[in-house]
Structures are given as C-alpha cells and as structure tokens.
Amino acid sequence: MISVYMKYKDYDIENFISDEFFVQWVKNPSENNRHFWEKWLEQHPDKRFVVYEAANFIRSINYNINPDLPDKVYVDMYENILKFDEAKPVNKAGRNSGGFFYLFPVKSIAASILLMFCLWIQYEAINFRTENEEEIQIAIISKSNPVGQKSIIDLPDGSRVHLNSESEIEFPASFSEDKRWVTLKGEAFFEIQKESRPFYVESGLTSIHVMGTTFNVNQSENGSLYVALVTGKVRVNSKEGEEVDLEPKEMLVIEQSGTYYKTGFDPLDIIAWKDKTLVFKSASLREIKSKLEKWYGVQVEFKGVFDNNWTYSGIYEDEMLENVLRGICLTSGMKFSIENKKITITNPK
C-alpha cells in the first residue's frame, strides 16, 4: 500500500491528467477510486490545488459536437433491427446484397420528415408575410439553464446578464430604436450599459425600468420577486400600476399576494452566485439541501437523526462538489457518499 501512496506524491499536473486511475475518479467516481483518492488527499493537502486543476482540465475537454438522437429515430431503429431478422432469416449469401435494403427505412423517414418540414416552412413563410411584415424581422432569442448550470449572456447592446441555474431569459436579436427589453424567469444578475434607450426587465407581472446599473432579480419558487440594486437606479412597476424607486443597497421584495416592502441586503447572500461563490450563512439542513441541489444539479438525501438546531456557515469559491461536502461534513462529523447524481448524508452519531 505504501508504495501506491508514494507514487502519486511526486505527480505534477501532467502526470495526473494522463493517469487513467485518476481520470476514472474524475469521470466515473466509484466506491473504490473515491476511497483511495479521498484518503490520498487527506495525506497530501499540499497537492490539493494541483489535483483540482487537473480535475478541472479533464472536465473542460468535451465533444465539440453534441447532437441528440431523436426519440422517434431511436425507436424506429430498434424496430427496424428486430423486423429485419424476421424478414431475412440467417443467410450468409444475403449478407452483402442486403446492404441497400435495410438502410432504406431510416433514409425514407428522414426524407419524408424533411419534405414535411419544407412544406411547413413554406406555409409559415407565406402566412407570415401576408399578416405582419414587421414582426418577422425581429427574432427572439431564448436562453435557459438546467439545474446545476450557470451562464453569462451578452445582450445586443453590450449589456451583460449572469443567468443562474433553472432560469430562462428571452430578448430580441436586436433592440428597437426606442426600447431595450428582456423577459426573465428565475434569477439573473444584470450589468446594464448606460445609454439613452430605457431598459426593461419583465418578470412575471412586474416590470423593472433601468437606466444603467447593476442589479439582481430573483423570481423565487415561493412566488416572491426580489430585486436587489447594487449600483445606479431602477424603478419597479407592478402591473397594478404601483411604482417604487430603488437606491443602491436596497432590495425590493414583492410577495405573491402583491404586498411589497423595501429592505437592505447582504451582497454575499444575494449576488455571490454570479461569481461562482456558494455561500452558507447559518444554513439549516433544508437550506443546504436546496442550495446544493440547485448549484450542482444533484439530489441530496439525509439519512439518520439530525439535530434540528444545527446550522452551517461556509463560503466556497468555484469548488468541486466533493470538496464542499467534505467541508460541511468535516465540522459536523457527518458522512457523505456520492452515487451518480445522488448524495446521501448520514449522521453516525
């Protein structure tokens, strides 16, 4: 065993990234490799940075082309394969000559789909033209993030949007001469370019009017809308016609019932997410669960008896999930295990 532990301690990044056992741990963590690498990291804390850099590098390399196999093709192919051996029993002579026939179904389906698509496009094009000449000029761009993923989107006017996970934004491919707008579901941090055209964020029934500013909008799952202003000035209009101006460091909370109030906010709580910083501030087990699930796109389950008064505080900057879990468990004596996207946290006490 000792010799195995020795071997990796002299590793530099290029050794890690070409070591298949290390790559396996990063790509397909299993009981065995996880056990080894966690033990190893405990003994070589000085290697942590190199290990994380190597893991990040491995994760950064992906297929450039990522097509989906349509469900219809998936099912049709299966059927074709099974039907084929009914149609042609084992026949060695037929193996080569059969070539052209058995690829016929996929091709013909593709061709008929293409034909239908062309007809539809033509139909749509004709209809649009006659109805509204101007509408078709403006394409609407829609960007959305699944759970566990964040992105940065540059708008046509140079403004920038940090879009949180499980969120969606829509905006025109080019803004009109008198108005800039986006619609938002979920949470985003905006850095709006200052210019003469007003900028509107539409979120649910609320419209936020901005000039040039940085602020965070969160349409939370509980139905409330949080608008937190960092710099500049924004005016929030509800659909009922109410109007509230916000100053920097103020946050407006609009509850589902329509009642609203202003409050201060801790930037660490509200906007750290855009810098990939995960913050737990006296977080309960429930908060930890929901934050981890949203941040990493995993499922978290607690097993065993836990102290309801226990809370956890910690800040993680762009960390791997394993490391965050290790941090949480280190101070609390809890244990965790990861299986695919399922995390189980247990309390052995």
Partner: protein
Amino acid sequence: MINNPKPPQLESKMVNLLGHSESIKFYESKSDLEIWRAFDKGDEFAFNYLYRTYVVRMFKYGCQICRDESLIQDCIQNIFIDLRRKRGGLNEVLSIKSYLFKILYREIIRKLNSSKSTIHHGNDIIENSFSIEFSHEMKLIHEENMEEKRELLRSALEKLTPKQRQAILLLYEEGMSYKEISVAMEFSEVKSARKIVYRALSSLKEILVRK
C-alpha cells in the same frame, strides 16, 4: 450447421423498449463478458440491454467522425442487424463499449469510402473529425493569466492530430481506460494508446505548468 441457433421466442420481441427497465436491472450488475455471451446465445433481454445502454453513446461518438446524422444512424442499425445475424458464433468481448466503438468507426469509414459523393471529401472529414470543445468553465489559479492560458490551450488542442484528439476524447469524455482505448482505436498494444495520449499532452504540458 444445419440447425441455426434460434433465439428463444419471446411473446413480443419488442420487449417494451421504452419505460421498461427489467433488462437494465437484470444486466446492470453483470460483467460485459456475461452480457455478451447472453446476447450471443440469443437472449432478447441482453440485446435490449445493449441497445438501451449503448445506442445513444454510439450515436454521439459517430457524430464526432462524420456529421451526417442519418449516415451514423444507418451505420448503427447495420451493426446491430449484422451482430444479430452472427449470433451463435460471435467472438468474446470483454469491453462492449470499446468493441462497439471500434466496429462503428470501421463501418462509418467503409460507408464514407463507398459513397461516391463523398469520395473527394473523405480525407477532409477525417481531418476535421473529433473536434474538441475546451469549455470556459475551467478555472486556473492565476486569474490574471487565465484568459491567455485558455487561449493557448485551445490553440494547442486544435493543433493535435485527429488520432490524438480521438484518444484524448475517449479518455476524458468517454472515461475509457487505456486498455479500452486501444480496443476502440484498434491498437494491438495498450502501450500505443498510452503513447498517443502522452504525446498529445506533452504539447499542452508547458502551457499548463506555466504560472
């Protein structure tokens, strides 16, 4: 060879493709060799398992070689039809994924070469195969050099040969071992798979260790 090995007849051969996970549950814990033997014996559940487990991965892999999605679909269909026909006399397979990747690669190249329309573009296709995306998520320690470093890595990755890119992607995207890579890429020795990866990474090494 008068009696062709007949697979056991199931009531319906469609074995409820979607939304039915018996084959997955049953075969999940089995080794590749056991699954392959069962398939060879004509077990329809084993075929169902193979299809469900590997077809989407094969499709994605195939699209790295050639972007004609319907050609890839044809190739996958042909491969399974062919394998089913040869049941009863299949060779043993220790790593199903790398074996299927190997025959898929062969089938795609065969098809590209045989179709006249692409004969002049065949080499271009191979030249552009296995394009790597270097995602911007990567965070390196020295922030100020991050952008520059990323660009250097990106352009270094672009300079790799198609074979090097293929090996790197099998390792990092597919999570294959060197043994599996050597099967998928038809190297006679595992050493060759290691060599091709080491050589590819050595050109990135300088950039990676630069502070």
